[in-house]
């Protein structure tokens, strides 16, 4: 099935600056596999070491979060649009942690 994958700006450096990639796939998992085969540097940004979609990455099929569909097994239909939506999260220090703001590397 020909489908379109929308690439968010921070990841376009790994897709030759393309904001959308068209490819053929029968499921969401197949589409992401094809995408990351085509653009190998994208893989580590979308998948963790176990090959699962990273928790900071949301994938939407048209207007639905694939978490509430059949995740990677969700079937695709012609002209579906898959959107990779980066999780935008953050926050200040936890109360009770008085080590001050941190802008450098941690020992993580």
């Amino acid at each position: 099935m020909p489908v379109k994958v929308i690439i968010p700006t921070p990841l376009r450096q790994y897709t030759a600056k393309k904001d959308a990639v068209e490819l053929d796939a029968k499921t969401v998992g197949e589409a992401l596999a094809t995408l990351t085969t085509q653009y190998a540097d994208l893989r580590r940004h979308l998948f963790n070491e176990e090959g699962k979609i990273r928790s900071f990455v949301n994938v939407y099929l048209n207007d639905e979060d694939i978490r509430y569909l059949q995740r990677e097994q969700t079937p695709l239909h012609e002209n579906d649009v898959l959107s990779i939506v980066p999780s935008i999260a953050g926050g200040s220090l936890l109360r009770g942690n008085c080590s001050g703001p941190e802008t450098g590397p941690t020992d993580r």
Binding site: P8, T9, P10, Q13, S55, F56, N58, Y60, D63, D65, R67, S83, V85, P86, S87, I88, A89, G90, G91, S92, L93, L94, R95, G96, P101, E102, T103, G104, P105, T106, R108
Partner: protein
């Protein structure tokens, strides 16, 4: 590397921080990007999804639910992002960054901010002390994710927009309040 916005944009961010205090506020910055120079055209305030803890945790779990609340964490609803990005594309704009507030903390990124950051985007932080918005800083994640680099904020209606960039503080913006 610079983020250009006007006084209304800056005021919208500060005002949102004041309005939502002591909760963290958040929103999207839409505009144009050329190289590493970004120009903000529109500031859109969004709901902090951490106000709905269960829903937020389904999307992005927290390590310590008792201590990680809407007062020190924010999460943008990806459906809001999707909707706004679609609208932005139709208007020829793109998402150039995001803003959030640090209630009773400095406008500097935390390690949590860094762990959750994406490259390229501008991350604008407003410090809000006792419901009073203070300094506003912008940051961009370093390519190796080791730290945030400060990004100059340029005021679009400044008489010398290309003058040496400075970080804005409450002093430089006192007329705007």
């Amino acid at each position: 590397m610079a983020l250009q916005l006007n006084r209304d944009h800056l005021e919208a961010i500060r005002d949102h921080g004041r309005r939502d205090y002591p909760t963290e506020c958040c929103g999207i910055l839409l505009g144009h990007a050329k190289g590493d120079h970004k120009q903000v055209v529109e500031v859109i305030a969004l709901k902090n999804l951490r106000r709905e803890p269960e829903k937020a945790r389904e999307l992005l779990p927290v390590a310590d639910p008792d201590r990680e609340t809407e007062r020190n964490r924010f999460l943008i609803d990806p459906r809001d992002q999707l909707r706004i990005e679609k609208g932005a594309r139709a208007k020829g704009l793109e998402v150039v960054g995001y803003y959030h507030s640090h209630p009773d903390h400095p406008a500097q990124p935390s390690s949590y901010d860094r762990e959750h950051a994406w490259p390229w985007y501008s991350y604008v932080i407003v410090s809000v002390q006792d419901a009073d918005p203070k300094e506003v800083n912008s940051w961009v994640l370093a390519a190796d994710r080791s730290r945030f680099e400060p990004e100059a904020i340029q005021l679009a209606n400044s008489p010398h927009p290309h003058a040496a960039p400075v970080h804005l503080s409450e002093h430089s913006e006192s007329n705007g309040l």
